[in-house]
Symmetry: C2
Subunit: 234 residues, 2 copies
């Protein structure tokens, strides 16, 4: 029987590529996105487009409210930083950090995986070209997997352990884009900006936009992103 994978999807380059790699391995795809009060809600439309394009059997959007917890520029009225030097990313954890976000997202993914009888939980974290978040590192992922296999009925009583699959964890953004392109991913469907305009144009200056642009340049792949002053709607 073909194995099932729950794939955490933000509609960005990384999770989309991770999903395409899971599909390429022959896994059945169950896409999971989160509506958590993020200011860049365009990504939810992108995640839906990606799930359809890659043939996910289901695409579930879980609504949750992280705003009462606070502490992040992605959910609070804090300005998203613009024009940061790429070299500076990774040194400090920026204000776009959402406290324990990957822990929370993976926990929901774990729950859904148990119900679906999926044995893979896919997350597109990478430890190289990232924004300095602690919950993107291999040590965190390994610890989450160890915890997860003590947490569920599936793992503890039914010998159905979960694997946290992080196919991108050692790749650069350029390698990610080249891999996805070779698998036929249409990155025009994806969305990365932390602070888009109301009609869905990317700002071009937040950390996420800057990493994305650099990735396309280094991969030698045309950048399909619609930046401010173009007419793209999400």
């Amino acid at each position: 029987m073909t194995e099932k994978a729950v794939v955490l999807s933000s509609g960005g380059i990384d999770s989309t590529t991770a999903m395409a790699m899971a599909k390429d391995l022959g896994l059945r795809l169950f896409s999971l996105s989160f509506d958590y009060g993020q200011r860049h809600r365009c990504e939810l439309d992108a995640a839906r487009r990606v799930a359809t394009a890659l043939g996910a059997e289901r695409h579930l959007v879980l609504k949750m409210d992280l705003a009462p917890i606070g502490g992040s520029a992605l959910t609070d009225a804090i300005d998203v930083p613009k024009g940061r030097a790429l070299e500076a990313m990774g040194d400090d954890i920026p204000v776009t950090y959402v406290p324990a976000r990957n822990t929370i997202f993976l926990s929901y993914g774990l729950a859904w995986a148990e119900v679906l009888d999926a044995n893979q939980l896919v997350i597109g974290v990478n430890a190289l070209d990232y924004s300095g978040y602690p919950d993107c590192r291999p040590a965190f992922i390994a610890a989450f997997q160890a915890m997860a296999n003590l947490a569920t009925k599936a793992a503890v009583q039914q010998d159905r352990p979960i694997r946290i699959f992080t196919p991108l964890i050692r790749m650069t953004k350029a390698e990610i884009i080249r891999t996805g392109t070779s698998l036929g991913v249409d990155y025009g469907l994806t969305f990365s900006c932390y602070d888009p305009t109301a009609d869905g144009l990317a700002c071009g200056q937040c950390d996420s936009c800057l990493l994305r642009r650099k990735g396309f340049q280094e991969a030698g792949v045309p950048d399909p992103t619609r930046y401010m002053k173009s007419s793209f709607k999400c």
Copy 2:
């Protein structure tokens, strides 16, 4: 400076006692409850009463929707089992198990603790008189703490690790009730039933009611619970 503790509160005996023990240790209390589509929503009123009675500085109720994930009698249209033999509890994981629930709840608690600069996260799990849930065991809690201390900016960059504090983990229900009683807890404020009537009476027959009744009997403490056919409103 007095340390802060985020306390996961269901408004039941265990979390209320754990909160009272944290208060007795001099910790500043921040109570956290979850509105997750549970059929026993009376517990949310109980959690609010308890937070007020114990002097919590804040009581936050996070709304989330676990129902789309499914897999539990507590959120789905599956009957809650009644009249199970107490000896049978702990052998099998019952249908009231919510997939990865404590993992999800602790993840939110971790996020709030980071924002509050709290270094204790209190959960009233116990591994003895419990219903057989895997995520109430010491091994799970230890693994969660290890993961948590790799997950956050606080732990990784700011030397502010979190402790998952489980004061009840080796106690029987009777010991828990005696401890809380000695600390002045009014268990009449608490609520435990998985399947109450519309006007907030406890069914008396679900696992949670059966464990609660047995606990009061064994502790030699009068049971203040309002069971079906009495007039208590939640």
